[in-house]
């Protein structure tokens, strides 16, 4: 067992740095971890396998989320208790997710979550539109 795997052959260091920076900007702007960018970048630029890329991306996300949360806390935006609750439940959920991935076919999971995300996106946009209509109404009314 070695917890410190080094000497990766990183073919495209610039790409990793750019992906990391963009992941951080996204984290600050919309509150996601940026794994969506970091995982494929690690596969492509550092030649990691999917599992190693996911592991490395998770490790890279930790300092970013700590600094991002600290800054957000100073702006007064962090709901600390809810964040911790969601985080701890998230760990339990991750274990459940790993089990589920083992039980259900990959195609079904992708389909299910893909549709769920589309539904959530539609609801978000609907909320924005409603707020705009309400705002316009308040202005004219």
């Amino acid at each position: 067992m070695s917890s410190a795997v080094l000497a990766t052959s990183i073919d495209h260091p610039t790409l990793l740095v750019v992906a990391g920076f963009l992941a951080g900007v996204l984290g600050g702007l919309v509150g996601i971890g940026g794994g969506i960018l970091a995982v494929p970048a690690l596969v492509y630029a550092a030649g990691l396998g999917q599992r190693e890329a996911i592991a490395t991306s998770l490790a890279a996300i930790v300092p970013m989320s700590i600094v991002g949360t600290y800054r957000q806390h100073r702006y007064g935006n962090v709901k600390v208790r809810e964040g911790l609750t969601v985080g701890v439940l998230g760990i339990a959920g991750a274990a459940a997710g790993a089990t589920l991935a083992d039980l259900l076919p990959d195609r079904l999971l992708r389909l299910g979550f893909g549709l769920l995300m589309l539904l959530i996106a539609a609801q978000l946009l609907h909320g924005v539109r409603k707020a705009r209509v309400a705002e316009a109404g308040a202005r004219t009314g």
Partner: protein, 114 residues
């Protein structure tokens, strides 16, 4: 309660932090302001990502040199992103998030039919 579990399931399945699921649900179900939702999600990601990274590190799957190359610029990006977020209108946080979700969903669905 369900938000954390769903985000975790998504995170465990696809190996990301789960923020893409957490932020919109905090807005839609908990009625949070988009800025507060994004900030609270980042706090939750500390816990989720640290636990995931620790587990993976125990199996020797973390490449620390590559992690550092992603993490260092990400920290600067996060400082810039949070500063920027305070200056844009709240609704743009939601719109940006919706666009990301659609891109992510298309990618997942493409994988399902590939």
């Amino acid at each position: 309660m369900l938000i954390g579990t769903l985000a975790g399931v998504y995170s465990g399945l696809f190996g990301v932090g789960g923020g893409a699921v957490m932020v919109p649900l905090l807005i839609l179900w908990r009625g949070m302001d988009p800025r507060a939702a994004a900030a609270t999600s980042l706090a939750a990601i500390i816990v989720i990502a640290a636990a995931g990274a620790a587990t993976h590190a125990a199996y020797g799957n973390v490449h620390w040199d590559a992690a550092a190359m992603v993490a260092a610029p990400a920290v600067f990006g996060a400082v810039l992103g949070t500063a920027l977020q305070q200056r844009v209108r709240r609704e743009w946080v939601s719109i940006g998030l919706a666009v990301l979700l659609i891109v992510g969903a298309v990618d997942l669905l493409r994988g399902a039919f590939a």
